[in-house]
């Protein structure tokens, strides 16, 4: 294999030897250390392979032995290069393409964020770009650990990150802490839990701290629910000592809210004429370029739907070029009145949209007593609905000042002994 490769690189010829004493020629060759291989006798003649280097030394031997040699075939790289010498540009292009590919592979062309749940890709990418992590940056400037540390530091929600360079992609794996919403006081420091809304407590799971209320109790906004002070009682039932913890509990508070919404029965109805027109445009940077021919005439009233497709090379690498399409539909406005059925449906739809929004916020709707009332010019929906929500808020506790220094561990801020 290796010898074949060497033969190819150096180049060799197949020659035919004929004449008076070919054997003498062969002996002379071996004496002059000219390597011959693939020796075959063809009738009275011989055919053999000899390297270009060896072939150039054959002339005196040929004269001496009065033989004749004819080149039959040429093999190897030197001949190949010679044959394609007129295609230098093609070779140059191939080399250029290869080097371009190599140079392009030195940059990051795609940043992909994985595992993010509450933080959007844009937020993370925006932050990364402010830190100089951009599409098109050199791969050697990516320092995974640095990126990881920065992300963890900047986003409280992120508990674990990993930056990985795979080919020309930078993949950022993120693990988020899901219940980060009431992390107002760092987890180490003592904290009370107070009610964030007024209402009735329907369920209560306390993980740490001393509960101050019971299930079923009515509480006002700001009332203490779980205290941070934990007391240790001695045999006589008196407080031996006490310490403060970071209270932690899941508490559901039920409350009722009032809903009211109304809309007029008269409205403007669009009657579409069926005439449509579409315009295409291109935005490059801040300049907008219309591609379509200008339309003749104009619509008095029309709806316009604009769709835009930003050009991007990879998943998140947007180019400053946007392709857009505007579809206009002509209509004539006319006054219309809702029928009772339509109005009810419309009001119900509004209400369910409103409740859906609450649900997305994490509130649970237990009951809804909203009524719909229609009179000649207005449709009103009103009533109460009952909802449950996690109603706790952290608050720094009011701590009693320790009156004696005995046995107080100053370095331990969590525990204060009395």
């Amino acid at each position: 294999m290796l010898t074949n490769l060497l033969k190819f690189l150096k180049g060799y010829v197949v020659i035919r030897l004929s004449g008076y004493s070919p054997e003498r020629f062969l002996n002379l060759c071996s004496h002059h250390k000219i390597v011959l291989w693939g020796l075959r006798s063809v009738g009275a003649d011989y055919e053999m392979c000899v390297s270009i280097h060896g072939f150039l030394k054959l002339r005196p031997l040929v004269r001496k032995t009065r033989t004749k040699i004819v080149i039959l075939e040429r093999h190897g790289l030197p001949f190949w290069l010679h044959r394609y010498r007129s295609r230098k540009l093609f070779l140059g292009g191939a080399l250029l393409a290869a080097s371009l590919l190599y140079v392009l592979s030195l940059f990051i062309w795609n940043i992909h964020v994985e595992g993010n749940y509450s933080l959007s890709d844009e937020v993370i990418l925006d932050y990364l770009s402010s830190e100089g992590i951009l599409h098109g940056m050199a791969k050697r400037d990516v320092h995974g650990e640095e990126i990881e540390a920065k992300l963890r530091e900047h986003f409280q929600e992120i508990t674990w990150t990993s930056a990985e360079v795979k080919g020309t992609r930078l993949i950022i794996h993120v693990q988020e802490n899901e219940d980060v919403t009431f992390e107002e006081i760092p987890g180490e420091e003592p904290a009370d839990l107070v009610a964030s809304e007024s209402g009735k407590i329907v369920s209560m799971i306390v993980r740490s701290g001393t509960p101050a209320v019971l299930e079923g109790m009515e509480v006002e906004k700001g009332d203490l629910l779980v205290g941070s002070r934990v007391e240790v009682l001695d045999d006589a039932g008196e407080v031996a000592n006490a310490y403060y913890v970071h209270a932690d509990a899941d508490i559901l508070i039920q409350r009722s809210e009032y809903y009211e919404a109304s809309f007029p029965m008269h409205y403007e109805k669009k009657i579409y004429s069926g005439r449509k027109r579409t315009t295409y445009y291109l935005t490059i940077g801040r300049k907008r370029l219309d591609i379509s021919l200008p339309h003749r005439g104009s619509y008095e009233q029309s709806d316009a739907i604009t769709s835009e497709w930003p050009l991007k090379i990879t998943e998140n690498f947007y180019l400053p070029v946007v392709f857009g399409k505007i579809t206009e539909q002509e209509y004539t406005p006319s006054d219309a009145v809702y029928t009772k059925k339509e109005a009810t449906a419309h009001a119900k739809e509004e209400l369910s949209l409103f409740l859906e929004k609450l649900r997305i916020k994490g509130l649970q709707i237990i009951e809804n007593n909203v009524k719909i009332e229609i009179n000649s010019d207005k449709c009103t929906a009103y009533g109460t609905y009952i909802l449950e929500e996690s109603g706790v808020k952290e608050q720094a506790p009011v701590m009693e000042i320790p009156n004696q220094e005995e046995g107080t561990d100053v370095s331990d801020s969590r525990r204060i002994y009395f």
Binding site: P22, S30, K33, W37, L39, S41, Y46
Partner: protein, 80 residues
């Protein structure tokens, strides 16, 4: 003398070394030159005598100053 000194005979006496694998391959070392080469017969000169390989379709795969490889159907090996 070579035996007493335990030296290889091919070095001291310049004897040819012939290694035959089956009847299709032969290596010859320590030869002087080729006297005759056809498909039926290859005659080699060594220091002390001539060596003749007869057969069918004999073919020299490669040869250098002191080694050669012969392939083909070897029928007879003769020294004279």
């Amino acid at each position: 003398m070579a035996e007493k000194l335990k030296l290889p005979k091919d070095l001291v006496m310049g004897a040819a070394v012939l290694t035959v694998t089956g009847r299709s391959e032969a290596y010859v070392e320590n030869y002087r030159g080729i006297i005759e080469y056809t498909e039926q017969r290859i005659r080699l000169q060594t220091k002390t005598c001539q060596m003749t390989l007869c057969g069918e379709g004999l073919h020299i795969d490669y040869y250098t100053e002191d080694e050669m490889k012969i392939s083909g159907e070897i029928g007879e090996i003769r020294y004279c």
